[in-house]
């Protein structure tokens, strides 16, 4: 019992936990402290004249939450809704939640400082770079760690489709 407790503490002190999600073949990590909930795909009500990457709003237990397509925000192909599609509910501030559509949620990983590199790109003008806070290495795979507040409030740069 003691041991488990200790190990748990150790994990929090030494690293951050990330939820790993997939968009196509790429893996992205979202800091777990911002994640309020993960829900299955729901009926999305379109909002006219919104930013193109906002798919609309959903009703989550009586709360109305705007839903953003990460794919459209990043300038990728539009979402194809499958059985694996999930909406991740993010809460940056207590009063305002926002949903992010991803292809699939894979796992939760703990990354410590050593396994995180600064985000770099061969092409410095890569529009995606502004949304990343770093790149994590886990089991020989690379996880792009999202700077979630930049993703949500950040203006569209050159990534408009």
């Amino acid at each position: 019992m003691e041991d488990i407790h200790g190990a748990h503490n150790f994990g929090i002190a030494e690293g951050k936990q990330y939820i790993v999600v997939c968009l196509g073949t790429e893996q992205y990590g979202i800091d777990i402290k911002y994640v309020d909930n993960i829900v299955r795909n729901q009926r999305i009500t379109r909002v006219p004249k919104a930013q193109h990457y906002f798919k609309g709003v959903i009703n989550l237990r009586g709360e109305i939450i705007p839903v953003m397509s990460l794919r459209l925000k990043f300038g990728l192909e539009p979402d194809e809704f499958t059985n694996a599609t999930r909406i991740i509910i993010i809460k940056l501030e207590p009063q305002s939640a926002i949903g992010i559509i991803v292809d699939e949620v894979k796992e939760v990983v703990t990354l410590n400082g050593n396994s995180i590199d600064k985000a770099s790109s061969s092409d410095p003008s890569d529009p995606l770079i502004q949304y990343l806070s770093g790149v994590g290495k886990h089991n020989d795979g690379l996880i792009s760690l999202l700077n979630i507040s930049a993703v949500i409030v950040g203006r569209e740069g050159k990534d408009t489709v």
Partner: protein
């Protein structure tokens, strides 16, 4: 004795007594012989004295004691009420309000003795009762104008900031120190400062401000503030940009030398001339019969009060006084709710045949429905406060303005009992005050001018509140000169807001709307045109923030009126549900006039816009499916369903595919991240969990 537990009661009751005093003094000024009024004032002063004494507020007690004394003399017939006396009493009232404001803030009355008011009061009482003691009449002291000092010189700079400055200098940026003085009449100071900052940030960067941003937002400053500012622009351009903001009294700008911080000078300077807080104005100004001086003396107190209102009130919480009857109704409804719930439970557990169940179930649902509707209404009513609590201070304000401006004017108020949501009431005071001041200052002509025009000498200002469907309208009206549309138009062209051709095509209404544009409301410029436009942009922003709108009507030579339209309830409304292709939308019932079936062949085209002629009125058609980018699903039909909506006196027809029905909906926000247009006022969740968006008719029409 620990009296802190009584503080809230004390504050509440003091407020009531002060309001009584203010109302009765207004009457007394008109009818100096009215014995009822005199008695009423005596009683209020007496109660105040007792309460202040119990709470240990000695200064407040002393002032009320002397006010009471004066009325004792009047009551016993030893002296009569003179205009000078009323003036002094009003100043005493202001002083009491200042004490109260202090108490609200820190539960301490402050240290202002108001010696001068007390002396004057006693002087009048003594003089009247025969003790010969001439009232000291001295010439009016110079008006309390602040000397315009370049206060930015005394801004202190930290080492870190100095570094930034050096870097900026290396990049050839100019570093200016700026001190801005606002006009004394400015009401929404924080908003003005915000506009100044906004203007500045377009040209460069504000590095430091004194007082700091937080204090400015909280209005914890007097009439001036200072900045350190980086820019590539010239001094003249920056100055012009600031002066373009309304109600700015003076701008002082000069190069800012940050080297001052090194050496002994830095130590000496802040002490010598650190006028962060303006020196306390000598409130003890010699008493004079001149109303102007009285006005000046009341200023600091009033300003202080306005400031403290904005700050957090640690001493007391925000409360609403609720009529006990309203609470009883609520309690009853909750019991009924429980009965309804029990009814449903018993249907569920009772073993009976299915057919009976369904009937009983429906009955319970209906019962539940009526209970929840009533409950909603009652809860809303608890939140409703009569508008009187805001407008009751206006007669006094108009009285003061009348003396200050030297114009005779009268304020007529109706509908003070009209109720509005508490949150709206809290916010509506400042905009109304602004409009009233506008009317008094610029709307009404001078008395002799009025006589020359054949109008009655005394100018009239009207404040009418009334309910209109789901809205409450508040109208501020005057019978003054009205707005000269031609002059506004010319000014707009002169200022480059419009080209001459544009102006020719604009309707009078559109021209008047210019006054609400931020760029247009530069005080001085408009004052010499028509006298309107001071701060109207701020008023408009505030009203729209409350979900309302403002409209101006004017007739040259006959006066103008500003109509504020505010929503009655904020959270739950009746709405018409409509279908557009596969989507559902809600249209607030309050803005719907009628619903019409229109033959496609009846649609006419005027200037490429579709209109219909409905019983003699030409109404523009709005194709919602096009505006809202809805994929056209239906085939062409011969008959369109058109929902006729109104905004003010303008009508428009919204083309919809299908009507679903009327429904009570709960308005929910769709959050700040999604950048939807103003056409969507929110969303609501329907019975089946589906979301319907609420159309904002005001933005569509």
């Amino acid at each position: 004795m620990d009296v802190s537990q009584y503080l809230e009661i004390f504050i509440d009751e003091t407020k009531e007594h002060l309001q009584t005093l203010s109302d009765q003094l207004m009457i007394l000024e008109q009818e100096p012989e009215n014995m009822d009024t005199i008695n009423e004032i005596f009683r209020a002063a007496h109660s105040l004295k007792g309460m202040a004494g119990t709470m240990g507020y000695k200064r407040m007690q002393r002032l009320t004691h002397d006010m009471e004394n004066v009325f004792q003399e009047i009551r016993s017939g030893n002296m009569t009420v003179k205009p000078e006396l009323v003036d002094v009493l009003f100043r005493g009232l202001d002083a009491l309000e200042a004490y109260l404001a202090n108490i609200l803030e820190s539960s301490d009355e402050g240290t202002e003795d108001n010696e001068e008011i007390i002396n004057t009061l006693n002087g009048i009482a003594d003089a009247a009762t025969g003790k010969v003691k001439e009232e000291p009449v001295k010439p009016a002291a110079g008006t309390a104008k602040q000397s315009s000092v370049a206060k930015y010189d005394s801004i202190q700079v930290s080492d870190y900031e100095k570094n930034t400055f050096e870097k900026a200098k290396a990049q050839n940026e100019n570093i200016f120190g700026i001190t801005v003085y606002l006009q004394e009449t400015c009401i929404l100071k924080a908003a003005r400062v915000f506009l100044v900052f906004k203007a500045l940030e377009e040209l460069g960067e504000v590095i430091k401000s004194v007082p700091d941003i937080q204090d400015i937002e909280d209005e914890k400053f007097d009439l001036d503030f200072s900045l350190v500012y980086f820019t590539k622009e010239t001094m003249e351009k920056v100055k012009a940009a600031i002066e373009n903001v309304s109600e700015v009294h003076e701008v002082i700008i000069g190069p800012f030398s940050f080297d001052d911080t090194s050496g002994p000078k830095a130590d000496a300077e802040p002490k010598a001339s650190m006028p962060k807080e303006p020196e306390p104005k000598p409130a003890a100004k010699p008493a004079t019969a001149k109303p102007a001086a009285a006005q000046a003396a009341t200023k600091p107190a009033a300003a202080k009060q306005a400031n403290s209102k904005k700050q957090a009130k640690p001493a007391v919480g925000r409360t609403v006084r609720v009529d006990i009857e309203k609470l009883d109704v609520l309690m009853n409804l909750v019991s009924e709710l429980i009965i309804a719930k029990n009814g449903l439970v018993s249907i569920n557990s009772a073993e009976s045949d299915v057919k009976n169940d369904a009937a009983a179930f429906n009955e319970q649902i209906e019962y539940l429905e009526s209970v929840t509707t009533n409950l909603h209404e009652s809860v809303m009513k608890v939140r409703m406060v009569p508008i009187e609590s805001v407008v009751s201070r206006f007669p006094r304000m108009i009285r003061d303005l009348s003396k200050k401006l030297g114009k005779k004017m009268e304020l007529h108020m109706t509908g003070e009992e009209t109720e509005l949501d508490r949150t709206v009431i809290d916010e509506i005071g400042d905009p109304l005050q602004h409009l009233l001041r506008n009317s008094a200052d610029h709307g009404l002509e001078a008395n002799d001018e009025r006589i020359a025009l054949g109008k009655e000498e005394v100018g009239n200002i009207y404040l009418d509140a009334y309910q209109d469907g789901n809205n409450v309208n508040i109208e501020v009206r005057d019978d003054g000169a009205g707005i000269n549309i031609e002059k506004v138009k010319n000014k707009a062209i002169e200022k480059g807001t419009l080209t001459a051709e544009q102006a020719d095509h604009m309707t009078d209404k559109e021209i008047i709307d210019l006054l609400f544009r931020p760029s247009f409301s530069t005080a001085e410029q408009v004052t010499d045109v028509s006298g309107r436009g001071v701060g109207l942009d701020v008023v408009k922003t505030k009203i729209e923030g409350l979900g309302g709108n403002i409209e101006c009507k004017t007739v040259l030579g006959e006066g103008s009126s500003f109509i504020i339209r505010l929503p009655l309830t904020l959270a739950i409304i009746q709405a018409l549900m409509v279908e557009l292709g596969p989507e559902k939308y809600a249209i607030p019932l309050g803005s719907i006039e009628t619903i019409e079936d229109v033959m496609v062949t009846d649609i006419k085209s005027v200037q490429t816009k579709e209109v219909i002629n409905l019983r003699g009125t030409v109404i523009p058609l709005i194709r919602l499916d096009q505006i809202l980018d809805i994929e056209a699903g239906g085939e062409d039909v011969d008959i369109l369903t058109v929902v006729i909506v109104k905004k003010g006196d303008r009508l428009a027809g919204l083309v919809v595919d299908n009507l679903i029905g009327q429904q009570e909906i709960v308005i929910k926000s769709i959050g700040s991240y999604i950048n939807c247009s103003k056409m969507i006022g929110g969303a609501t969740i329907l019975g089946d969990g589906e979301i319907a968006l609420i159309l904002e008719v005001n933005a569509l029409v």
